[in-house]
Symmetry: C2
Subunit: 207 residues, 2 copies
DNA sequence: TGGCGCATCACCCTCCGGGGTGATATCATC
DNA sequence: GATGATATCACCCCGGAGGGTGATGCGCCA
């Protein structure tokens, strides 16, 4: 795996450097330091970081939490707040933006590292689940009767909304063959039709 | 909202009590203290905690990470590791279990509190997304042509795999009425059949 | 060598899904 | 009081989906 590229958003340059050196000590690459919201936006679109460390108090017109919202809306990048504790109200606002973690200053290197690792791991997992599953195979393990490789491929097509005709074309198979496979798939999933099969897949995939 | 009920799994009784008092200071209810894996399992099934604080090193045949896996598999409860740092290998194993956070001892109260809050919030969100969407309405905002309330309800049924007959029964409507609604829904979603409609909903929901 | 799982294809039949068209009642809004 | 959106229901039509049955070829393994 390539090195993890971190964007650090922190208005105090000294602290920013401190954080950056900690990150590099544990093997991360700090792709940019941003001291203002503007810097942060530039860095986000230019550097495409893997994860963002976000100070909340920026002495700026937009604060870290607003930045968090933007990151949610425009980029799909996970982020972690790293900030001095600012009480209930701030925390409540922060929660709304679904950060992958919240570290309170003064931070220690180990906590920083473990939080980032967990954040990256969980984010990767969520991506995998929602996007289109590198792991249709995992699904197989949770079934009483396992699906064959061919059936798995076709089930993926079904899940994405293709009809039999389309499946036949994209897989270079006869329509009859598709029908047979689909029948077998339904039997193994214990469902009667496509929508039910899709619902089943969704249930099995989400844990 | 009712108070949040926390299960603390920590083999050292003194530390456990320390953690518990910290938690109560910030307004949580500690529903149980478990010093062994066995205690933890009992507490899980009896007390139904909202979240679990999990020490990894338990001086037991099963360690905290195995417990984490079990919590994933059997209960849908979020958990946070609270442990002394034990290096890369442990962290790698821990990541596999998808904890909602990872706190390194010695912990401080603020960090504990904020991490738990974030964990609970994110877990609630994930539940909402995967289970049945409090926000089928959000979906509506991303559509060129908005769906009426009735159509939204029926779309939900379609998404869950019900056929027209079932929809008619559960909504106390004529089959013909269902058909009409479904037709209109498909037109607004710009799809031709149920599986495609489901795929569309999925795409819109996962932003 | 025979059996088993898998993949491939065929034919038939039934029924549900979805399109087209049109009707009526309610309600808010202008 | 007219107009438009919504909700309700009806009938017709047809094509695809799904069930049942059966067949062939291939590779693996006992």
């Amino acid at each position: 795996m390539a090195t993890v590229r971190v964007l650090v958003v922190e208005d105090d340059p000294l602290i920013a450097l401190d954080i950056a050196s900690c990150l590099e000590d544990v093997g991360y690459e700090v792709c940019a330091l941003a001291h203002t919201a503007l810097d942060a936006r530039k860095a986000l679109s230019l550097n495409k970081p893997d994860i963002v460390l976000l100070d909340i108090n920026l002495h700026d017109s937009t604060d870290g939490i607003q930045l968090g919202e933007e990151i949610n809306a425009r980029y799909g990048i996970p982020f972690v707040y790293l900030t001095s504790y600012a009480g209930q109200a701030t925390l409540q606002r922060a929660k709304q933006t679904h950060p992958m973690g919240y570290i309170v200053k003064p931070f220690d290197v180990k906590g920083l590292y473990s939080t980032l690792e967990i954040a990256l791991s969980n984010h990767a997992r969520q991506q995998a689940i929602r996007q289109a599953f590198g792991d249709f195979e995992t699904l197989n393990t949770r079934l009483p009767e396992r699906l064959t490789p061919r059936e798995l491929e076709l089930l993926k097509g079904i899940y994405e909304g293709r009809d039999n005709q389309q499946l036949a074309e994209t897989h270079h198979l006869s329509l009859n063959t598709i029908k047979t496979h689909v029948k077998n798939i339904f039997a193994k999933l214990d469902v009667a039709n496509r929508p039910q099969a899709i619902a089943r897949v969704r249930a099995l995939l989400s844990r």
